[in-house]
């Protein structure tokens, strides 16, 4: 879903860069207040895993491929605001080193593939925590469903940005974007739930949702 340069108007690109930069800046501020020294490696490893997994395009219907985005997984492990930092690190390296995603579209890409998904899943986790029992099955269901929703929300935002840029009418771009990303989102849900499930077995302390103490990075 990486938008290249040329798809967005300057106005839309700028209008996306502002909230994206704001969310990342807020994430960095939260880190300086809450990120414990022992969790510093978790941030680095999550970013590395997201980058690597994003390279693994899997085929979906009709000669199209999709890949893992990772905002949902990052939000579950680190909270939504630190997830914004993780996703911006990944997307900045992808754009500047690998020309994957435009430089002028960087704000939109951070917004679509990072901030929106992280906040959707962060909100969902918060809501689930207050109304649902704290059980493994619940966490995995929220992980999978949240990951799917994060991809759909990102695809919707991407379509709106393209329409507002005058690149393509919304009625033309939104239905196929949602159609193909409904499938890609299933992949996102499976990978996210599998990763959370594996961590719950190997290192449950890395998944803050299972900690008895409330996690300050999520609230």
């Amino acid at each position: 879903m990486h938008i290249p340069d040329g798809f967005l108007s300057a106005e839309v690109a700028a209008a996306c860069a502002v909230p994206a930069a704001g969310a990342v800046a807020y994430g960095l501020r939260r880190a300086s207040r809450e990120l414990d020294e022992r969790r510093v490696p978790v941030l680095g490893v999550t970013a590395a895993f997201v980058f690597a997994a994003q390279m693994l395009n899997f085929p979906v219907a009709g000669g199209t491929s999709g890949h893992f985005l990772g905002a949902a997984l990052a939000a579950i492990l680190l909270g939504p605001w630190l997830a914004c930092v993780v996703m911006s690190v990944v997307l900045v390296v992808q754009s500047f080193v690998f020309a994957d995603g435009g430089v002028t579209a960087l704000g939109a890409n951070v917004l679509n593939m990072g901030v929106i998904g992280a906040l959707v899943v962060g909100g969902l986790m918060l809501a689930a925590r207050s109304v649902l029992p704290r059980r493994r099955g619940v966490l995995l269901a929220v992980s999978a469903g949240g990951a799917w929703l994060a991809v759909m929300a990102g695809a919707t935002a991407c379509s709106l940005e393209l329409a507002l840029s005058g690149t393509v009418p919304l009625g033309t771009v939104l239905p196929p974007m949602l159609g193909v990303h409904a499938l890609i989102g299933v992949g996102e849900g499976i990978i996210t739930a599998a990763a959370v499930s594996a961590l719950l077995v190997a290192r449950p302390d890395v998944v803050p949702a299972t900690n008895p103490l409330p996690d300050p990075a999520v609230a």
């Binding site: 879903m1 938008i3 290249p4 340069d5 798809f7 880190a31 300086s32 207040r33 809450e34 990120l35 020294e37 022992r38 969790r39 510093v40 490696p41 978790v42 941030l43 680095g44 490893v45 999550t46 970013a47 590395a48 895993f49 980058f51 690597a52 390279m55 693994l56 395009n57 899997f58 085929p59 979906v60 009709g62 000669g63 199209t64 491929s65 930092v85 690190v89 990944v90 900045v92 390296v93 992808q94 754009s95 500047f96 080193v97 690998f98 020309a99 994957d100 435009g102 695809a155 393209l162 393509v168 033309t172 771009v173 196929p176 974007m177 193909v180 990303h181 890609i184 290192r203 890395v206």
Partner: protein, 92 residues
């Protein structure tokens, strides 16, 4: 945490290096929609050291992708770790 970090990083580097060369090369969701709704030509890519995940100077396409995956995964880990280490909470 050190053992976890090393193992998890090894997994990520392994995926990026060994599996990435065999990933699907079909266009992704946005590219497909852009082609079908006729705005794909508006896009243009920019200069970058390893544009398109093809490591420069490597003829074998799979090797070039694997090397890009290795480099990128390690680079993202270092940047992410560095940012987190700089910004982390300091207890005085």
């Amino acid at each position: 945490m050190r053992v976890f970090t090393i193992l998890a990083l090894a997994l990520a580097v392994g995926l990026g290096t060994a599996l990435a060369p065999f990933a699907s090369s079909s266009p992704d969701g946005l590219q497909t929609v852009a082609s079908r709704t006729a705005f794909v030509d508006r896009g243009h890519s920019h200069e970058a050291p390893v544009a398109g995940y093809a490591f420069p100077g490597i003829r074998d396409a799979r090797l070039a992708t694997g090397l890009s995956g290795f480099t990128g995964t390690v680079a993202v880990f270092l940047v992410g770790y560095g940012v987190a280490a700089l910004m982390r909470r300091r207890t005085t």
